[in-house]
Amino acid sequence: MIRAAERRDVVEVTALDAQITGLPKPEHWMELFRRQRSGGGAPAGIFLVAAAPAEPERVLGFIVGEIRAWEFGSDPCGWVYALSVRPDARERGVGEALLEAIAGAFRQAGMGKMRTMVARDAILPMQFFRGEGLMAGPYIQLEKDL
């Protein structure tokens, strides 16, 4: 089941992310959690978690996104910032369910486009998003050493 993240989930989200990336970032995840809005108007931040119905407090995966407008000249669209699934819960449709849920939230807020950014060498996430029908968009990310 997919539900909105609650404050107590942030600990598990932080642990799951640290397990995957090797870098704990509790303040970062708490900040993203706080950005959620409830009630009136379009949600600025969307933070969803997946949990098994039998263990609703155990986070199997999470997704975080936000509606952003006019950055880089872009029309308002939904951005997916982070998506992670426990290694022992993969290949069971958890990531797909999370992506579908956030796409539904973006759609409900009137968005017609969903975007994300993936490192070129991150093969699994890249294949996952491609498998969900995402294609390269009209922007190219540029950068420079400072």
């Binding site: 070129r120 093969i123 890249m126 294949q127 998003f129 491609r130 498998g131 029908g133 390269a136």
Partner: protein, 143 residues
Amino acid sequence: MKLQVASQLAVFSILELVAEPNRQITVADIGAKYGISTNHLAKVMNVLGRAGLVRSVRGAGGGFQFSGNARRTTLLDVIDLFEPRGVRAPETGEPGRHTAETVALGMVLREIDDTVRATLGSITIATLRDLANRQRAKAALAT
């Protein structure tokens, strides 16, 4: 970017085999659909067979079956069997081998090559099949 004919045939052939996993498909079947000689296709299937992506079943009713994993095999896995690798360093005797200009041009070409390889490496056969099915559905809706 343009793929060599052999690469295109390899991708099309695999898609045909994946579409009917319980049937052995002959090179004549695929050749008839894409209008290509069975001789050319046989060579392509031979390369795919050596790479473990297809297996041939001999005898009456024989043909080819896909033996890879459609959710894991990428376009890059297939195309790399037929295409020369992308950017390479200039060889002895080529102009500008040791110049900063060659290094600079190499950086740009490597960027292009990296992007192409990342794209091909991110599209699995299953993803391409789904993409083709969506195109088919869209075309059917338009008619």
